[in-house]
């Protein structure tokens, strides 16, 4: 079971973690990542969004399709979406299921 120093089913805590992950993809960004800004505005191209989704899925242990990022295009909205998915799946097999 993947363990975290935070509760990923709480949107605010997951949001902070996602901000850190995204910052890894934006080494040239001098300011803090704004969780309410559209990811596209950070210049994350379509390939990078796919890589980011794979990365988050791998670390979170739940399916994160890039489509979910397209439908929830800010970190805040993505955190809310993923937290509810994780809460729903809590207790179930941690193996991600194909969408």
């Amino acid at each position: 079971m993947t363990t975290f120093a935070f509760d990923p089913t709480v949107p605010a805590q997951l949001e902070g973690w996602l901000v850190e992950r995204l910052a890894e993809y934006l080494p040239d960004l001098s300011e803090a990542v704004d969780p309410h800004r559209d990811l596209g505005e950070y210049g994350l191209d379509s390939i990078a969004v796919v890589a980011f989704a794979a990365d988050v899925e791998e670390r979170l242990g739940t399916a994160v399709d890039p489509g979910a990022i397209w439908d929830h295009p800010t970190i805040a909205r993505l955190a809310e979406h993923l937290a509810s998915e994780l809460a729903a799946a809590a207790g179930a097999d941690e193996r991600p299921q194909a969408a």
Partner: protein
């Protein structure tokens, strides 16, 4: 208008010596009324058609190429044979069921003429999004058109847009219950000759990943003058193919033209590309087959210094390298085609590797063959070898189709930090490629709903440590050279894992270092595919190419060289492969007998592993 439904079971009719397209009939069916036209039957037909005066007569095809004319006779012959049925999934009344079978079919055609394969095969590309969208679109309508012989084009690219689908500016706006389309699609294979095109259009002015939708356009159903063809482009290869475009000028299309959901176009295209990229590599396999056939003839008849060229060690070595590349390309393509059934969730990686790797591997093979053919590969009218210059030109488009080598490799490079070998323990067992590569393994039905845009996993490469361990355990009975090479591959893969650990994720284009690592990943993947196929098919250990695992040693030698190693066994392996090419002139350079792809051991009504009820329900593609 609609064209009458054509029954999927062809009327048995004896083949005629006269192979004129109008008399070409579907081949005799011997295994039951629902058995598809077989790859072996296609082989026989292609041989007939290639005789003087036939639709595949090399002289005729060369003349078309010279005049940049469409190979209409050959395409008509394939229509009459029933090839369009392979473009339509069984659930919509066609014969499309297994991707490995379709790869084998298109490969056979490409081995005769790459331009014909490109010109006809595009209907697979044009239809794939519609099948993937399923009943959420005009699938039944399209099936009727395709089965009636209508070609379908796939309009993705636009002037100035390159491979960037998000840059598309052709716009669809709502108009009553339907839509109005304005803009251009170019360059598109078969844009002008066909009536049907599956078009990606911007439906949100701001674009973005959810800002595009797909439409199936029937030009005949649009108001006159609102859809105009753009002129055919002169091309370096596939000169006869209709590489042109369409211009839409406020063209009204009905609501039922929508494929999938509004805003779902990009996702549908990206998933469909995972299937078409695998199909595209069959073009490379065919080009490789064609080149090796020419080389084989040349080596057997050309005399130098009082000896046949085949007897010169250098010639044998180069020929052996070409043969080894063919086996490796075939292994990767076959593995990818079966992966589409068994691990579709991971197809984003598998298809990117296949498309980035195989066309380049075959380009290299064509260079080797060209070196040996010498002047004959360059002169276009000497003793029939002019075909080589044409196929070499034709093949140059394959690395560009459906995302170039760079695009596919860049996609792989971006996920490399997640895929890094050794990052996670690898589950063995049911998901192992050594299981689903078995010839008698029942394949899951193709199911577009299982495709995903990305994956953090690669079950194929992940199986390498287990495969090497199994091989080593059998060392006494196996060729020790194979085990040594397999261990070297594992070491190279572990080194790749260590080197990838230093790779930083990036939000933009991947670095050159990341691209080089992705290339090494492809080599490791290819070597693993060869090992897995060897483990999966004990029957591949008998026969001229198979004794002492010769084909596998050839594949591993090419892979290890690609990874910068110098396997000690390589010169001997290439020498043996090169010698066999001429010593056994009737043995085809393939591991995949026609019988393996034509006659699955599993009976049609035996349930697959897919689950109750859904087992025979072929979803898509």
């Amino acid at each position: 208008m609609t064209t009458p439904w054509r029954a999927p079971d062809p009327t048995p009719e004896p083949g005629t010596a006269d192979a004129h397209p109008t008399t070409a009939a579907p081949p005799t069916v011997t295994t039951g009324p629902t058995a598809p036209p077989t790859v072996a039957a296609l082989d026989a037909r292609l041989r007939e058609w290639s005789c003087g005066g036939g639709p595949f007569d090399p002289g005729l095809l060369a003349a078309h190429d010279e005049k940049e004319a469409f190979p209409a006779e050959a395409c008509a012959a394939l229509d009459a044979w029933g090839l369009p049925e392979f473009y339509v999934p069984t659930r919509y009344g066609g014969r499309q069921e297994r991707l490995d079978e379709f790869v084998a079919v298109l490969r056979r055609i490409a081995a005769r003429d790459l331009t014909v394969a490109v010109a006809h095969g595009k209907t697979f590309l044009g239809g794939v999004c519609v099948w993937a969208a399923g009943d959420d679109g005009p699938a039944h309508l399209l099936a009727r058109h395709v089965l009636a012989g209508e070609p379908v084009a796939w309009g993705l690219t636009e002037p100035g847009g390159g491979s960037d689908l998000l840059a598309g500016s052709l716009t669809a706006t709502r108009h009553g219950s339907g839509w109005r389309l304005s803009g251009r699609k170019w360059p598109v294979n078969n844009a002008t000759r066909g009536n049907l095109m599956c078009v990606l259009a911007r439906t949100e002015p701001s674009g973005g990943a959810r800002g595009f939708s797909l439409f199936l356009i029937d030009r005949r159903a649009t108001p006159a003058g609102t859809v105009r063809p753009l002129p055919k482009m002169p091309t370096h290869g596939i000169r006869g193919a209709d590489i042109s475009g369409l211009e839409f000028d406020d063209a009204r299309v009905p609501a039922h033209a929508l494929v999938g959901t509004v805003g779902g176009g990009l996702e549908l295209v990206l998933k469909s590309l995972q299937l078409t990229r695998i199909v595209c590599v069959s073009l490379s396999l065919g080009a490789g087959d064609h080149a090796l056939a020419l080389l084989r003839r040349f080596l057997g008849e050309r005399r130098l210094y009082g000896r046949f060229l085949a007897d010169l060690p250098h010639a044998r070595d180069v020929a052996g390298r070409a043969v080894a590349r063919q086996f490796l390309a075939e292994t990767v393509a076959h593995t990818a085609a079966r992966a589409a059934h068994q691990i579709p969730e991971q197809l984003s990686v598998v298809s990117a590797v296949a498309k980035a790797f195989v066309p380049g591997l075959i380009q290299g093979q064509l260079r080797l063959v060209g070196d040996l053919l010498g002047a004959r590969g360059f002169l276009t009218e000497v003793e029939g070898y002019g075909a080589f210059a044409k196929l070499e030109r034709d093949h140059q488009v394959v690395p560009l189709f459906d995302g170039s080598t760079w695009v596919n490799r860049a996609g792989l490079a971006a996920v490399l930090p997640v895929l890094r070998p050794g990052r996670r323990p690898d589950p063995a067992g049911a998901g192992s490629p050594a299981r689903w590569l078995r010839a008698d393994h029942p394949l899951d039905p193709l199911d577009a709903d299982r495709l995903r845009l990305m994956t953090p996993r690669d079950a194929l490469l992940g199986a390498l440590p287990g495969l090497v361990a199994e091989l080593a355990a059998e060392e006494e009975v196996e060729e020790p050279a194979v085990t040594a090479m397999a261990r070297a591959l594992l070491a190279a893969c572990e080194q790749l894992g260590r080197d990838t650990a230093a790779l930083r994720p990036t939000g933009g284009a991947p670095s050159t270092a990341a691209m080089r690592l992705a290339e090494r990943y492809e080599w490791c993947f290819a070597g693993t595919a060869a090992l897995a196929l060897h483990r999966a098919r004990p029957e591949l250990r008998d026969g001229p190419w198979r004794r002492d695992a010769l084909w596998l040693r050839g594949c591993l030698a090419v892979v290890l060289e690609g990874l910068g190693a110098e396997p000690a066994d390589a010169p001997r392996v290439y020498g043996e492969l090169g010698a066999l090419l001429t010593a056994a002139p009737d043995v085809p350079v393939t591991l995949l007998d026609a019988t393996e792809t034509d006659a699955p051991v599993v009976l049609p009504d035996e349930p697959s592993a897919g689950g109750p009820g859904s087992a025979r329900d072929v979803e898509a593609a």
